[in-house]
């Protein structure tokens, strides 16, 4: 009895070169078609969508094709009295979209155009006595929110607004037998969650808690024969994991443990030659989310046509330098 490996096969006809111009055109067009079905139906995550689009454009050196004023007006319009941001105008404030808003503002060097004090108040008010973070006032707890809170405050240079030791201890209580991290204590390891926890520990200079060799092994075992990475054992490969797994490996100094060339081939095969953009897997529909993570992954892998990406914040390295945020990398 053998379990077949879940994987995909790359066709010879799949794209093998980076189609940068097409991706720029795809993102530009996507943001312009505001009354299209796809766009309307994803309004509940608009703030993150804008962050994905702007970041990938900046990484491709085309941020100037986006409308700074329009974006900043939108972001400002999404801030609530409590200080948090919603995904869109009139949508409820949440840490996920507050981080996206702060990332957009940082990208555009426009943080001063919103009420920063209030953001800090909002973020720190969501910390719980056990160190965890609610995503919003309704009380869902997740280590993703720990990352959002810490990343937000780091970009705003106000880390001391929360109880750092408690925040760290909570995240450590979500560490698992495989060296990875889950959503809450007891939850299974997942690459996205690992990225959040390792990123958060990196910002707070606590990476010594990570069992880097153990976790690095688990992470490099995410690479499948196709070259693509999955997010958990026995799952299909997906371009967004090229980001979460790779960035985590980069943070713990073990990026070279995967086969670079094979992964590059897989990511490139997920491009859509007709429309531009990247899909989760070859032959699927493209979207801005996978386009950002495809491009950011290629950047980490050293693709020279793309600007350097910061592995913790998933933002251009020079933006992080300009703000002067420091982090620990093993």
């Amino acid at each position: 009895m053998g379990t077949p490996v879940k994987d995909v096969e790359l066709k010879d006809s799949a794209p093998q070169n980076l189609l940068l111009d097409k991706h720029v055109a795809y993102i530009e067009a996507y943001s312009a078609k505001k009354d299209e079905y796809e766009y309307v139906m994803t309004e509940y995550l608009r703030m993150s969508g804008i962050y994905w689009g702007l970041t990938v454009m900046d990484l491709m050196g085309s941020l100037d094709r986006m409308s700074r004023e329009e974006v900043l007006d939108f972001v400002k319009g999404c801030q609530h009295e409590c200080g948090g941001f919603g995904a869109s105008i009139g949508h409820d404030p949440h840490l996920l979209y507050t981080l996206s808003a702060v990332q957009i503002l940082s990208l555009y060097d426009g943080v001063s155009s919103v009420n920063v004090e209030k953001i800090i108040e909002f973020v720190s008010s969501l910390q719980q006595p056990d160190g965890s973070f609610y995503g919003d006032k309704w009380g869902e707890v997740d280590t993703r929110f720990s990352f959002c809170a810490v990343a937000c405050l780091a970009l705003l240079k106000k880390i001391d607004a929360i109880n750092v030791d408690k925040a760290v201890n909570y995240v450590l209580s979500c560490m698992n037998f495989d060296g990875g991290f889950g959503c809450r204590p007891g939850s299974e390891s997942h690459s996205g969650q690992i990225y959040c926890c390792v990123g958060m520990l990196s910002i707070l200079n606590r990476l010594h808690h990570v069992q880097a060799d153990m976790l690095g092994w688990w992470l490099c075992e995410r690479q499948l024969p196709s070259g693509g990475l999955n997010g958990r054992p026995e799952k299909l490969p997906d371009v967004c994991y090229s980001w979460w797994v790779l960035a985590s490996l980069k943070i713990i100094g073990r990026l070279h443990w995967i086969d670079r060339d094979k992964l590059v081939r897989f990511i490139l095969a997920c491009q859509d030659e007709e429309t531009g953009g990247f899909a989760d897997r070859p032959g699927d529909m493209v979207d801005p989310f996978h386009t950002l993570f495809g491009i950011a992954g290629l950047s980490l892998l050293g693709e020279r046509q793309i600007r350097g990406v910061n592995p913790v914040f998933c933002m251009p390295e020079d933006v992080i330098k300009r703000i002067g945020v420091s982090m620990q990398l093993l």
């Binding site: 009895m1 053998g2 379990t3 009354d35 079905y37 309307v40 139906m41 309004e43 509940y44 995550l45 995904a87 009139g90 949508h91 409820d92 949440h94 919003d136 309704w138 869902e140 698992n176 037998f177 495989d178 959503c183 809450r184 007891g186 939850s187 299974e188 997942h190 200079n205 606590r206 010594h208 808690h209 069992q211 060799d213 092994w217 688990w218 490099c220 075992e221 690479q223 958990r232 054992p233 026995e234 799952k235 997906d238 100094g253 073990r254 443990w257 086969d259 094979k262 859509d272 899909a279 989760d280 897997r281 032959g283 699927d284 529909m285 979207d287 989310f289 996978h290 620990q328 093993l330």
Partner: protein
């Protein structure tokens, strides 16, 4: 955004789809604006429930609408009778079930279900548990459902023992179920805690688990779940925080301490230094001057140490270590030598040696059947390391060569692992107080355990494959550093080496003056060999280098 296959469509189909979408969008826009309007007016009624249900059943990640529903339910709770409420909440649970059918991975749905269960009167937790069973039958890896299950279990007062049984039944129906193995790793220490090791599991229980994992990987040797679990069972002993080494340098007026595990002085522990019985005041720093958690810590004495004998004691709560600097000596250190072969076994040694030997035998049997199975090879290597790293070195290295052939994707992982093994053995063989450490000609691709070389004065890393020197800031006593024949591009972190006098970088990949800049801070550096680096092909580099490092006596290019 996931798993949507792109299908070729005709112009006709596209037009039909466009029309259909336009219709949907109109409905969507009308409904959402109505909803937001009603919410603005604080209308918490049946109509609002119906409108939001329309949108959420197709778009379950629209979190704001779930929030509105929560407000509606809280409002109803104020004004409805018990029976009305019961029906409302029951309907909501059915609605959520329908939503989850369409989108079993929606964070919003699962979270809202938690809210409903916590808010409704007399929630039926047992029914929820059955629901989880049903969902996990459909998808045994849905982590949302597993998390919801843990949420329910806590409230339904299900015992960890019962949950453990559940994972056993899941695993026996399909070994390849990572989620169940994971859950077991959480439950075992709760049910059978090892009184000797916090977080550990009792020996007799461990043996049963080893059997289960063996069963799984004998059935399917390529199933990674059981192997990861097995790796965990082997365990990793948690060290007690202690002072492993104290070193004093008269010349640098400095005390160096190596702890048994990384810690931050001032935050995790306080360390007192006393000189001839008098407590000293001063600052602790780390070799890289980061003041982060570290194994190595440096303490600068404010008063000079005259030529006489001095006794330095470093103390923390529950442990101390002293070291006597003899009359006329430049330095002294205190460290316990460890029985060869045991220094690093803590990384893999929660199990008893009998158990380890049995496991090795079992894996050797499987290896006979499956000589190309990477999981077997890797596990054999780790077991050998745990049992006797020195005795098994030759076999371990042969297995590394094989595993690189059968799993070339992870070549660099295995090479780094090999480097780690070789460095551990070298430290074990050469002893913790060796003045000279020889790590040459070993094809090392990375460095590990550099803290254990903190008192070495000569370190030979020549003829390896190092492209960087992670942790080299720990070489606090090194005077002679031999790095010939590597792939170094810079001298990163060498600025932290206060005693460095003689550095050989012959045959490396240094191509810029910038790469050598850290050496400007090595005030004792007298001799530098950079023959055979790309930099040597640049014009005027000798003059530039002389200017940058004016105190060099010997520069070999």
């Amino acid at each position: 955004m996931h798993g949507r296959l792109k299908v070729k469509t005709t112009a006709e189909q596209q037009e039909a789809k466009r029309k259909e979408r336009e219709k949907k969008m109109k409905l969507y826009n009308a409904a959402t604006s109505k909803i937001f309007q009603k919410r603005q007016g604080q209308e918490y009624d049946q109509e609002a429930l119906e409108l939001t249900a329309q949108i959420l059943s197709a778009n379950s990640d629209f979190y704001t609408l779930w929030n509105y529903r929560k407000e509606i339910f809280l409002a109803f709770k104020e004004k409805s009778t018990e029976d009305e409420l019961h029906k409302l909440f029951e309907d909501e649970l059915s609605f959520l079930e329908a939503c989850l059918k369409g989108n079993p991975k929606s964070y919003g749905c699962w979270e809202h279900r938690c809210f409903v269960m916590l808010t409704m009167p007399c929630p039926d937790w047992d029914r929820e548990l059955m629901l989880c069973n049903k969902y996990l039958e459909y998808d045994e890896r849905n982590f949302h459902c597993w998390d919801y299950r843990r949420f329910v279990v806590k409230r339904a007062q299900v015992t960890p023992e019962a949950e453990f049984e559940f994972t056993t039944s899941k695993i026996s129906s399909n070994f390849s179920n990572y989620s169940s193995w994971h859950y077991r790793s959480k439950l075992l220490p709760l049910i059978h805690p090892d009184p000797k090791h916090p977080g550990g599991v009792k020996d007799d229980v461990l043996i049963k688990e080893f059997e289960l994992a063996q069963n799984a990987f004998f059935t399917d040797p390529n199933d990674q779940s059981a192997w990861f679990y097995h790796r965990w069972l082997l365990g990793r002993a948690e060290k007690q925080l202690a002072i492993d080494c104290v070193y004093v340098s008269r010349e640098l007026r400095r005390v160096m301490v190596r702890l048994s595990k990384p810690a931050k002085i001032g935050a995790d522990l306080s360390l007192q230094v006393s000189l001839d019985g008098v407590q000293c005041t001063g600052e602790w720093t780390t070799p890289a001057n980061s003041n982060d958690h570290s194994l190595l810590w440096l303490f600068n004495l404010t008063a000079p140490l005259d030529g006489n004998e001095h006794k330095v004691m470093v103390a923390m709560e529950g442990s101390s270590r002293s070291c006597t600097l003899k009359d006329g000596d430049e330095k002294a250190s205190s460290v316990d030598e460890v029985k060869p072969g045991t220094l690093f076994s803590y990384q893999l040694s929660a199990a008893t040696s009998d158990t380890l030997t049995q496991e090795l035998d079992a894996c050797q049997q499987l290896y006979e059947l499956e000589p190309d199975n990477k999981w077997v090879l890797l596990t054999i290597m780790l077991l050998m390391r745990a049992i006797d790293p020195l005795k098994y070195l030759k076999e371990t290295l042969e297995h590394i060569d094989t595993i690189i052939k059968v799993d070339p994707c992870r070549t660099n992982y295995y090479k780094d692992l090999r480097s780690k093994f070789l460095i551990e053995n070298a430290i074990e063989e050469q002893g913790l107080s060796a003045k000279s450490v020889d790590l040459s000609n070993r094809e090392l691709t990375t460095l590990r355990h550099t803290e254990y070389m903190c008192t070495a004065e000569r370190i030979d890393l020549s003829n390896n494959k190092l492209s960087s020197l992670p942790g080299c800031e720990s070489f606090q006593c090194v005077k002679e550093l031999e790095l010939k024949g590597n792939q170094l591009k810079s001298c990163e972190k060498m600025e932290c080496l206060p005693l460095l006098e003689d550095l050989s970088l012959t045959d490396n990949s240094i191509s810029t003056m910038e790469g050598l800049r850290p050496l400007t801070l090595c005030s004792k550096l007298k001799k530098l060999n950079i023959m055979g680096n790309p930099l040597c092909e640049q014009d005027d580099f000798v003059e530039e280098l002389r200017n940058m490092l004016p105190s060099l006596d010997t520069l070999i290019t």
